[in-house]
Symmetry: C2
Subunit: 201 residues, 2 copies
């Protein structure tokens, strides 16, 4: 393993444990890597941390893209369900879960801003992809196309609620399957062409 | 206003802005309150911060209890919907929203642990209350009593997803109404007595 790769791997673990309070000295102390060796590869703590976080975000980016691209674009239920279960399985790794939790808990500053921007770009791309499928699917499945924003928002609430409860309880449990089914059945009922017009909303 | 109340009010604002990185010196510097005066009322930064956070948690505790106690215990839909909208309106105050966001983003340590324990106790009490209503409601409304854990978990995912997206986007928007309706309609479909037995799950 190259020195650079060793620095990256150890920082991944240390960041998962201590978050962005981590200093270059702490990394040097906790490993057999000399501070001068850290500086040979990275200008600053923020440079190193962003590199490590960005690698993880790129992996996530590619993995979600793969899920979406290999899904059947005419089958909305299968696509959102594949995406949902992908998220559950992706965070079934305790170190990864804690790493992402740390990413969400960074203190204010340029590093946090950069991480949030990168993360938001991936999130937006995924959500846009799914909402495009919604519009096509709605046309032939008696859902109302005009409800696309409601669909997008509610799927986001489901995803964020799932992630947040994974972060709080730190384990995957079967009830998540049911949360997805409740969401999907609610979508079919509530976003049906004739449903919203009948209601006071 | 008493000196103690002034300290509490200013700390509330400062904690909302800077989180638990805040020191007693920073509080003294940002206000006209002398450090000796801070120490006259609070032994330490953690003592002061916990006092301020605990006051907010007690307010939330009382407010949620009021919502649940005044609700019609035979009408599960109205109770969960009242509770859901209470949460939306409660966090419709930007300072309060940011204050709670800070509570969720504290660094590891005894203060964070104490805050989490207090918060979890309130959360558990509320969720238990609602799941008790589910069991009674299920008996007379063709829902399956055995699905109480699924109901509890899915309502928690909805609440956490809503809170998390309020934290990310920092404003209340109408789609939340729809997220609730999708949840409720999904519950009626998915937790129906004859529903789960018919499915592969």
């Amino acid at each position: 393993m190259s020195k650079k790769q060793e620095i990256i791997d150890r920082t991944y673990e240390l960041f998962s444990r201590y978050g962005d309070a981590l200093s270059l000295s702490a990394i040097a102390n906790a490993t057999s890597i000399k501070k001068s060796s850290l500086y040979a590869h990275f200008d600053s703590k923020d440079h190193l941390l962003f590199h490590v976080i960005d690698l993880e975000l790129q992996k996530f980016d590619q993995a979600t893209l793969d899920v979406l691209k290999t899904s059947d674009s005419t089958d909305l239920k299968k696509t959102v369900s594949d995406f949902y279960y992908f998220i559950l399985y992706y965070f079934n790794d305790p170190t990864k879960l804690v790493f992402w939790k740390r990413c969400m808990l960074m203190s204010e500053g340029p590093l946090k801003k950069k991480v949030e921007e990168t993360h938001m770009k991936i999130h937006q791309r995924n959500i846009e992809y799914i909402t495009t499928l919604y519009i096509d699917y709605a046309k032939t499945n008696d859902l109302d196309e005009k409800n696309v924003d409601i669909f997008r928002h509610s799927f986001m609430v489901l995803l964020l609620g799932t992630l947040y409860s994974l972060f709080v309880f730190e384990h995957r449990v079967t009830p998540y399957d049911h949360s997805f089914h409740i969401f999907w059945k609610g979508v079919q009922q509530h976003l049906h062409k004739n449903s919203l017009s009948r209601e006071r909303l």
